[in-house]
């Protein structure tokens, strides 16, 4: 039973197109994220989102927009795709930390490899 699942796993598209990646978590977490991992394996946070607040990494172009229909889903929509958008995009979730034994552990999906031609 997959905890964080994202689709599609692979996406090949042309420059200028608009695409979406979907993410769902069944862990009951209140916070979800999108990360971008480039070819050098650096993971960069793009968005952090819970029911109340969207935190946007200011380096993310506004062509990228997260959309959350409900607490268990956070989709990533990308407009006017560019070559530099090619990367692996990871969705993750965690519980908002509130002390106690919560480690703030991030649970990641398997990633969506986007290739822009």
């Amino acid at each position: 039973d997959t905890a964080v699942s994202q689709t599609p796993k692979y996406l090949v598209t042309q420059m200028g197109n608009d695409k979406s990646i979907k993410c769902e978590q069944n862990l009951g977490h209140d916070t979800m994220y999108w990360y971008k991992q480039d070819s050098k394996k650096f993971l960069k946070i793009m968005f952090s989102y819970n029911n109340k607040e969207l935190i946007i990494n200011e380096t993310v172009p506004n062509r990228f927009s997260p959309k959350s229909p409900d607490k268990a889903h956070l989709n990533l929509h990308i407009n006017s795709l560019e070559l530099g958008d090619s990367a692996v995009y990871f969705c993750a979730s965690s519980s908002r930390t509130s002390g106690g034994t919560n480690t703030g552990e991030l649970f990641f999906g398997e990633g969506s490899r986007l290739t822009v031609l």
Binding site: K41, F42, S48, A92, T97, T103, G104, E110
Partner: protein, 114 residues
């Protein structure tokens, strides 16, 4: 937020103990140290977390000296399946947006040979 420095890559052999050291000179009083493991074509996975001294779980041990400016992830008796990238992160886990603040480096690529 504290940045971390790790070796880019390491090699070892099956059955050996592997120690990966991470430097975090600017670690703050409230920061915890967390390690993640990433296999090819998968998302990172939490391995272990600690604040000071030693933490051990079924997968690894984490050694943290008194000054907390570094930490060492120890993998006992590695196998080929431990080949992965290992990330060291520091952050205040009790800060509500701590995961957003985390800075992920390139990690340490560990290759285990037969």
């Amino acid at each position: 937020l504290a940045k971390t420095t790790q070796p880019i890559s390491m090699d070892s052999y099956e059955g050996q103990e592997v120690n990966i050291t991470c430097s975090h000179n600017n670690i703050a009083t409230n920061d915890y140290i967390t390690w993640y493991q990433q296999f090819p074509s998968q998302g990172p996975r939490f391995i272990i977390q600690g604040y000071k001294t030693k933490v051990t779980n079924e997968v690894a041990s984490l050694f943290i000296p008194a000054d907390r400016k570094s930490s060492t992830l120890s993998l006992p008796r590695v196998s080929l399946s431990d080949t992965a990238v290992y990330y060291c992160l520091v952050g205040d886990i009790y800060y509500e947006d701590s995961n957003y603040q985390l800075i992920w480096g390139a990690g340490t690529k560990l290759i285990i040979k037969p």
